[in-house]
């Protein structure tokens, strides 16, 4: 594989990593319903 091939491969890996990061961040957006700490 030549230099161009390696560059394409690296570009594909970078794109996959960025998309995975964004999807994971999106999935973490879900929150919860939490009580205050004074509840004892």
């Amino acid at each position: 594989m030549g230099v161009v091939g390696w560059l394409i491969l690296v570009a594909i890996v970078v794109v996959i990593a960025v998309v995975a990061f964004l999807v994971i961040r999106r999935r973490r957006r879900g929150g919860g319903v939490f009580a205050t700490r004074d509840r004892r």
């Binding site: 929150g31 009580a35 205050t36 700490r37 509840r39």
Partner: protein
């Protein structure tokens, strides 16, 4: 008759200013005080599909109204930096998830487990009931007094609550006033 919605329906709602109609953020976590029967605030996500968590938060005092389609605030200054917010809103007690807590009557009967909070639409975060997984099976709704006793991980409600278990939100909305008048609260 009261118009009601659940806390799950609030999560993900846009936060919009009354003055200007600007869509500023969306609701992430709902922070609830069982003792006062009210929301104390919400944490926020930034707007946009891939946007992440926002550092800024919204205290209940700054909420103009919780509506079915948006949480309304007066203006941009309503959303504040964490340093300017109450401790429970700045650092939500994520280990104190209300959902799944037992609901016990003062007489010691278990009514079930909390599935969701029920809020008054148009208020600034008044919680008027719980959606529960009933001990005997199935889902139901119970009204709450304005203030609650809390015991460890259980939410303690008056004995007469058992008589007011409803099958749907409409039934709950109709029963809240009668429930509170029976308790001498209104």
């Amino acid at each position: 008759m009261r118009l009601l919605m659940t806390a799950s329906q609030i999560r993900g709602l846009p936060v919009v200013t009354v003055h200007g109609g600007e869509d500023m953020a969306e609701v992430r976590d709902v922070i609830y005080s069982p003792e006062s029967g009210r929301l104390v605030g919400v944490t926020l996500n930034k707007r946009g599909f891939f946007a992440g968590r926002s550092r800024d938060v919204l205290s209940a005092e700054a909420i103009h109204a919780v509506g079915q389609h948006a949480v309304m605030v007066i203006d941009e200054s309503s959303i504040v930096a964490p340093e300017d917010a109450p401790e429970d809103v700045r650092h939500p007690a994520t280990e104190r998830d209300v959902l799944g807590d037992d609901v016990l009557t003062e007489g010691g009967s278990s009514l079930g487990k909390v599935v969701d909070l029920v809020l008054l639409v148009g208020s600034s975060g008044e919680v008027v009931g719980y959606q529960i997984d009933k001990t005997g099976g199935g889902r139901g709704y119970i009204p709450l007094p304005a203030q609650l006793s809390v015991s460890g991980d259980a939410l303690v409600v008056p004995n007469i609550t058992e008589e007011f278990i409803q099958d749907d939100l409409v039934g709950l909305g109709a029963s809240v006033d009668e429930f509170r008048s029976r308790l001498g609260l209104s």
